[in-house]
């Protein structure tokens, strides 16, 4: 399951080698969140990471983003070890991360503003991407005036506007309702296909994973270990009703169920010992 690294580096955009993460080292709350995980992401690939709640998906993603250093192991991006955040890898979070005091267009152009691009140039570029995500008429609104789905679209526009190659997405649609989520999934696939980005997408929804992914990596319940890597070779757009989809779903449900039960039992145990939830 663990892939063979270090050979054709050029082929891979992101490589995780035996990455582990311990939170709260040397405190009584020490938690091993990620345990020796290795995988790689190819350029232009749509990789989905799935796993039960609390298994360390967000932890893994924020290490790739460079927001947190791994406790052990190594993460490379284009052959370079990751030493901190970089505009090469944009992250889209579960909640909207638009800055509430800026208009939508200023938010989208914020990455360019940080780079020192002048106002006119960055607004021009931002407008282009706002159009791309269908928010042109909302450019001068403020985030709180947008619906949840619109906010996430603006976040995506911000990432695109910076010209990022890699999009890291941490359950970006989890806070949306069913219908909006479905629209956003289709929207994301359109964007991804058009722009040829590399996407690492975290979720715990099986259907979402199958609907989106080129390849799905399944993590075990905490501590997150690599359980399985599944390539989905269905043509897009994928039909949720198709038997192929069904087959994949059943496989994942099987995998997840065992992990969920494990996680649940563990949690029950913890609850009995420590009643703070």
């Amino acid at each position: 399951m663990v892939e063979d690294h270090g050979t054709n580096l050029i082929m891979h955009t992101i490589i995780c080698q035996n990455v582990s993460k311990v939170w709260g080292l040397d405190t009584p709350e020490e938690v091993l969140a990620i345990d020796r995980v290795s995988f790689s992401v190819e350029p232009g690939e749509f990789l989905v990471i799935i796993g039960p709640s609390g298994c360390g998906k967000s932890t893994l993603l924020s290490m790739i983003a460079g927001l947190e250093p791994p406790t052990a192991g190594k993460i490379l991006h284009d052959g370079e070890p990751i030493a901190g955040p970089s505009p090469q890898r944009s992250m889209i979070f579960q909640q909207s991360s638009l800055l509430p005091w800026m208009s939508v267009i200023d938010n989208v152009a914020f990455g360019l503003e940080l780079k020192g691009v002048n106002r006119k140039a960055r607004h021009q570029r931002a407008e282009h991407f706002l159009k791309e995500v269908g928010l042109r008429s909302f450019a001068h609104r403020y985030p709180h005036q947008l619906s949840g789905g619109m906010q996430q679209r603006a976040c995506i526009a911000r990432a695109l506007c910076l010209g990022t190659d890699v999009l890291l997405m941490d359950e970006p649609f989890a806070a949306l309702d069913v219908q909006t989520r479905y629209q956003m999934q289709k929207f994301l696939l359109d964007i991804w296909q058009a722009a040829g980005k590399t996407v690492v997408f975290v979720t715990h929804h099986i259907d979402e994973a199958i609907f989106l992914a080129d390849r799905v990596i399944i993590l075990t319940a905490r501590p997150g270990r690599l359980l399985e890597s599944v390539t989905i070779d269905m043509a897009r757009p994928r039909d949720v009703m198709s038997s192929e989809f069904e087959r994949h779903r059943n496989l994942f449900v099987e995998h997840m169920r065992s992990e969920v039960v494990r996680a649940f039992e563990e949690q029950e145990l913890v609850e009995m010992m420590d009643t703070r939830v």
């Binding site: 924020s62 983003a65 460079g66 927001l67 901190g84 955040p85 970089s86 505009p87 890898r89 944009s90 992250m91 979070f93 909640q95 991360s97 800055l99 509430p100 005091w101 914020f110 990455g111 503003e113 940080l114 780079k115 403020y142 985030p143 709180h144 911000r158 910076l162």
Partner: protein, 299 residues
Amino acid sequence: MQQTPVQESQSTAPLQSSSLSERKRKARIKSLKSLVQQVLWWVLSLSLFIGLWELLSALGLLNTLILPAPHQFIAEIANQEQFMSLKVGVERTGANFAALTAIVATLTRVLSGLVLGFIAALLVGCLAAYFKIFGNLTLPVITLLAPIAPIAWIPFAILAFGIGDGAAIFVVFVGIFFILTLATVNTIRNVDQLYINTARVLGASRRQVMFKIILPAIIPDLFVILRMNLFAAWMAVLAAEMVGVNTGLGAIIMVGRQMFNAKLMFLGMAMIGVVGYLLDAGFAQIQKRVLWWKTTAQI
């Protein structure tokens, strides 16, 4: 909670939602009605209160020397010749007050102190958060000085700055500065990590995070804290005016006291109430504007 009997003919017909304009008209009438009702209750409540007060006075059950009836202390305006004249910047002479002068004097003191305190606290707080060593060195002292009530600084302020605006402004400044500095540091610590991470992922440097994220993120919260301390500042200035700085609203009630003139005292209290209310309302307005990007629910 009452159950109306079902009329067959009505219940099977679609419950048509009325048209928008019709709806708006009804809504207007309804809100107008409730407004009128509101006003009536206010009038009733106030008349009852004042009526009772006047009645008790008239019956001799209240010592009007101590608790003059409303019509008495409002009539005191007439005795204060210049009271309602539009003089600003004219100091009082003897027991003569120009109400406007007093209000302007007091407000100037409160606002100058607040503005100076806010700016200074923001500066020191940000520096303390940005340069850890500076913070480590200054914050303990500030923490120790913060609980000294601004009022306790009045005698020192008068000694150091003489009688006048300087002392009053200093008292407000000192009352706001320590608390707000600590609040700044604290608020900076509580800035949503999500915003900071967003900026970092987009390539922001430490300085950029400070100026582009932390500063805009904390200003509204600090303003809320400033507003919470407005009342203390207001009280401190009034106290200073009562104790030494002998102009302004605080001085009016003090003169009332020295003259054994309860009517002037109550007149002064009424003014303090009104001005205090307007001051707070003004700040609430500003706060709304500063906080435009937060929905009311969040505030």
